[in-house]
Subunit: 451 residues, 4 copies
Amino acid sequence: MLENVNEKCAVVGIFNHKDASKLAYFGLHALQHRGQEAAGISSGDGKKLHTIKDRGLVSQVFNNDILENTLVGDMAIGHTRYSTAGDDSILDAQPVHANYDLGQLSIVHNGNLINANEVRNELIQKGAIFQSSMDTENLIHLIAKSNQRKLKDRIIDAVHKIKGAYSLVFLSRSKMFAMRDPNGFRPLSLGRVGEGYVVASETCAFDLIGAEYMREVEPGEMLIFEKDKAPQSIKVFEAEPKHCIFEYVYFARPDSNVFGQNVYKNRKQMGIELAKEHPVEADMIVPVPDGGIPSAIGYSQESGIPFEMGIMRNHYIGRTFIEPTQEMRDLKVKMKLSPITSLIKGKKIIVIDDSIVRGTTSRRIIRMLKEAGAEEVHMRISSPPTTDPCFYGVDTPDKDKLIAANMSNQEICEYIEADSLAYLSTDALMRSVDGEASSYCTACFTGDYIL
Amino acid sequence: MLENVNEKCAVVGIFNHKDASKLAYFGLHALQHRGQEAAGISSGDGKKLHTIKDRGLVSQVFNNDILENTLVGDMAIGHTRYSTAGDDSILDAQPVHANYDLGQLSIVHNGNLINANEVRNELIQKGAIFQSSMDTENLIHLIAKSNQRKLKDRIIDAVHKIKGAYSLVFLSRSKMFAMRDPNGFRPLSLGRVGEGYVVASETCAFDLIGAEYMREVEPGEMLIFEKDKAPQSIKVFEAEPKHCIFEYVYFARPDSNVFGQNVYKNRKQMGIELAKEHPVEADMIVPVPDGGIPSAIGYSQESGIPFEMGIMRNHYIGRTFIEPTQEMRDLKVKMKLSPITSLIKGKKIIVIDDSIVRGTTSRRIIRMLKEAGAEEVHMRISSPPTTDPCFYGVDTPDKDKLIAANMSNQEICEYIEADSLAYLSTDALMRSVDGEASSYCTACFTGDYIL
Amino acid sequence: MLENVNEKCAVVGIFNHKDASKLAYFGLHALQHRGQEAAGISSGDGKKLHTIKDRGLVSQVFNNDILENTLVGDMAIGHTRYSTAGDDSILDAQPVHANYDLGQLSIVHNGNLINANEVRNELIQKGAIFQSSMDTENLIHLIAKSNQRKLKDRIIDAVHKIKGAYSLVFLSRSKMFAMRDPNGFRPLSLGRVGEGYVVASETCAFDLIGAEYMREVEPGEMLIFEKDKAPQSIKVFEAEPKHCIFEYVYFARPDSNVFGQNVYKNRKQMGIELAKEHPVEADMIVPVPDGGIPSAIGYSQESGIPFEMGIMRNHYIGRTFIEPTQEMRDLKVKMKLSPITSLIKGKKIIVIDDSIVRGTTSRRIIRMLKEAGAEEVHMRISSPPTTDPCFYGVDTPDKDKLIAANMSNQEICEYIEADSLAYLSTDALMRSVDGEASSYCTACFTGDYIL
Amino acid sequence: MLENVNEKCAVVGIFNHKDASKLAYFGLHALQHRGQEAAGISSGDGKKLHTIKDRGLVSQVFNNDILENTLVGDMAIGHTRYSTAGDDSILDAQPVHANYDLGQLSIVHNGNLINANEVRNELIQKGAIFQSSMDTENLIHLIAKSNQRKLKDRIIDAVHKIKGAYSLVFLSRSKMFAMRDPNGFRPLSLGRVGEGYVVASETCAFDLIGAEYMREVEPGEMLIFEKDKAPQSIKVFEAEPKHCIFEYVYFARPDSNVFGQNVYKNRKQMGIELAKEHPVEADMIVPVPDGGIPSAIGYSQESGIPFEMGIMRNHYIGRTFIEPTQEMRDLKVKMKLSPITSLIKGKKIIVIDDSIVRGTTSRRIIRMLKEAGAEEVHMRISSPPTTDPCFYGVDTPDKDKLIAANMSNQEICEYIEADSLAYLSTDALMRSVDGEASSYCTACFTGDYIL
């Protein structure tokens, strides 16, 4: 799967480090795969918060001057976003920053609230105004309206009024807070960097900035970072883990740990399970790069069929707006992917991909392989059929666009023009990862929504 | 005066015209001299408001696609802004747009509130959050919090709580409102365009879009624009006109009418009065372009001394960031202005400028003329000494930076190295414009603040 | 005249100054009105020449780093160009730089060769290759092919083979050469800057960089600049001056001296002569800015009719690509120019412009004034009818596009919808400038081509 | 090897296809890995050649408008270039275009001439001028100066005067020529597209545009493409193949065929040979992506040790100019590559790379793996030690910068901090590819320069 599904964002927070905004910058850099359309950082110098955000890649929004002279201070939170098209999208970049009765506050949010509209309407009825279309604005209002005196208690108040998926980081004048929903849908890890602390959506951010992984922020836990103190932990909700299994299947970087487990290892194990469940005779295993590589390696090791990089990915593409000529069919896929013809020609191939969303890309890939001379193409998917949209922070198409929600396995196989097609079962998927099956959200495969 | 003082913005509103956002665009284009750092337009199609705003010139922020496909509808309001540096300035572009209990609302504002901080603090105490540093955000909050049922009444409520200078245009789902403070500090005119209406800070916007001038929006008046109705006028406050005299002296375009009078004519009359009050023998009258041209023409016609464009203004400059060499003194002024040496050499010159703020530019100009061989340079200023900062929407330096607040006439004359210096008297200034002296704000010359 | 006719370029040369490339940069800045589409500088450090050139304004092509670190050395030549559209135009920027048998050579050229094609064809027949469509490339080939041993003699050889208009500056490893055609069509002045020398198309370049005017480079003269020597002058051709009269009429900056005379003074004198030749009763004189200002002042002083800036020019325009609505007629002119309606209304106006090329702009301006209520509009042009294209370096339209070549005075008057129209006579134009009439090229008015 | 060595360019030619310039565009797109700094296309419409070239990626230099409206005609040649820094580099983009006695000619060149300076000096002595520093300019001069009457014969004349590596494509008004040096150093393949023909540096260009591979252009062969004729072949030189072995080791895309063989297959075979020659016990094989992947697969299949993607490559990097903090060691490598820590920890690893140039990147990678907990890191290189610079079109550092030219195997092993290091032998490298060992240039490994 090369397109169609997008994580909506990533968050990072740095506390007590003299280069806080730079560390936030590099952290976002490592998390860029979770959102490429907008980026922002708020920093705090003990007196004032400073915020810069804009459309574009992390490397386009910031420069040395901004990081060193504007985003000063030893605390910083950052966000990178996959922004949906539409009016005014510039205002939908994060952090969301506001002045309220306790002073200044900035928030970054990874996830999606399912009662956002209700909360928003209720707040509006009470006189609040909303300047963006972001869920996150709700949080600031709830905090501003809380009767509690301390920010900590107001945050607790506020999160009791929202439902959904959230990994949040707050920055006030002197403190940083990290908070995760009771189900822990989206990941959030805690680390040490120098004398300070870092929280981030994935541990690959830690590796780049030289931070040391400590542990997960627990589902339902709030961490309070305060000067000259160890982070204080408050169990705001009882944890009922429902980790997003799609983080392992597709989103997270293979070198990251999320929910305490390594992504590459889990993804490879999915390939091993896939080989057990859906063996087929073939000359070689070929991954759809880059997503299908670890599971293809697993499938190969389990099946003994050789792994080959039979499809290469072109990384110099840039964006092209040139209209193709009539002869150039499937140009969009061919610009990104190309088959090693002389390897594939006359061969029976097992193609491994992480998922099928609409089916159009899979069809183009299989056609391309057949045109290159592949004798048979067997499609193996390292996750169950994606039948249901996500409401917890993943940007999936509507149900009527999801091919597996509308066609049988056999019909999909015909549509994508494969010689055979098989998906990993939900059980096998669960065997590929640590922990209880019940501790994962698999709604996109099962329709069993937790909330 | 070439720099140092800036109008903070301009507003435009279009109602009931199928090309509303394009008319707003060209209107802002004509008003670009009032603010070059950010621009924005909200349009309404009867169902929804659409907003695009960003840093940059009007021509940089918008393109055909945005105007035709995003900013759809037959109503539009626009803003162009001189933005002060600082964090987050992107959020300080207007229109300010919000969802609130009556639906959607966009506001543009020209002026400055003097009780903005009090209002803001009070609102914050009641649970409001502020996401920008703009006065304008107050308005939306006050409207959202009003107990009135109709937007019209809420606006009335809101403007009773604010003090200062404001020419406002509001856009709701189906109506447009224009509102001016009781003193009418900043200008706002009403016109017809096709079957619809236009309001704008200056009438030069009408000329470009082919609109017809109707009248001023009166101080304290609210105009309500509603489909299939003539604009409804509500006298919200008794008018106590205190028009900004500096609009005539410097800001407004010579081809505009503001406060019902033509700027060029008034400005030329100032030159005539200046010649009467402060005659001096000389070979020629030379304006500091472009500001000083109309009054120099007036001075010449009254005095009989020939008018000459002895200083030319260079319009191809672009921004240059090249550091000059040691020999290049006063490069910044010389890049913009250059003397016609062979005209000036050996001559006695009266130089006419509209005002002196810090004095540094005047000094550079006079030095440049002396270096070009001028025998005498007599400085004549077509307004009184600028002694006090403005709190009603003009971006003047602090009092300690205003040369006339800190030096005597004689001292200034010596500082700027002129052979003589004279300012227009306040009385003569008042004679140059129509209406009672009491109907103008002259606080920048007198320190008599109205509010 | 606001458009349609363009000077093709400007040149500058700096010799023996440690900031040579910076001085060249600022010199080009002052000469930007002669060409805005491409710019380039070659510098020499005694060992090697360095060249940077690109499309764009001078301020866009160069930055501090380029000027300080790439364009090193104490000699520099520069060029700014009005480039015609077409393939490969990037290669048509100057300086033209080449390696040849005597080493390295860079050339900048203002003017146009009339035997360029013949020379080029002859060179090509002898085995030369041409990589651009610039006349200037001929020069380098002629120099490279000369049998002379010294560059000085080769340049003399080369210029004997070309015909046309040329103000040239050459840079070799250790010397700079300036050379002007025997007719001196295009201007070139010599000045001192610090311990070094400067040559430039107009003296406004001297003023900006703090250089002192010495004299004109004479028609047919070559100047050789060599370390530790005064510039050596060689009379390559007998001077037969035929200075381009259009430099005074339109091109050159009013503050410049060209051909030894001040532009503003001459232009004003044209207005005086125009008033004598073509008086008409009116309420005011209004220039088409900026070109018509000096002659309008002259006309006013001679006629006693008041000068007014009845049309203002808008300087914030930027480029807009927004398509106007149907109601917006003549938008292109209105974006640039706007009438002071309340000044003009009901008045008889004399409009002064420097020339009429196609007539379309004049018509738009007069319509605009009539719509603003002018009772009568009398057009007075401070030069004779432009009937013939220029082949000596001015980019005029073909003869069939020149309105005065195809219509009688009366027809033009009707076409532009003026109440009367009169042009300055050639005799009167000659009286407006110093020197013999025979020392000017007036081919664009008379069709009497010198070559 | 991630950096340090660069192919200098790629060429493409399209003949007799109505979308010639578009096909050239997409061909260059596929060849973008061979040069990212400048790109250009010349097209021919039977009457005239049109050229557009500039700095930047292929997708940045061209747009639809240029391809459809400027680069018209049914013939086109293109070039993408790795340009060396320096003055004037914009002029060093190709195609080189010139007018000469037979009309117009454009040339693109992949390779490097070893007698370029001699030829250039000789040409300069005869009066030629050189406007760039490109070898390619020599060709046009030699052709222009040839006494032959036909272009075909002039090209033959010209290539007899040059020595070195060249795959050339020429475009004249009505014909296209492809020519390869007698040693065939650089690749050039021939294909059919629609009714027309294509030549390109690698066959991946054919795949993208839907062309069909026909055969190699032979070493020493010239192909003449003429309307309504099959391509005419002329054996200009006796073929003495000396194909660049580094094309297989590193440059060419795995999905390409060059010199008639598939790159992936050859590269994988190098891994197999490497496993035979230099086995070592380990837990896993890890490639340095992307270059080391095929040989790592080969090594794994031969050795039976599992292949793992233990290092991932980050593709969202963009360029960052942010200075790292002190803690961030080896940031440059870490931005691009990151280890799968939980996979590597405590493991014995064989790392496969294609080559070592300076050694610094290898050292950083090994340190990164050790920091991630690798117990042992054994470096295996799928080519012999790079001891000698290339003079035939590859941009290698000087000999004193090549680590293998200055250190023993043992010293390199210590320098890069590996537990063991082994290179593929030249013999084994030759066994990995088809054809006689003598038909390859291995000068970079042996110092045996052919010319």
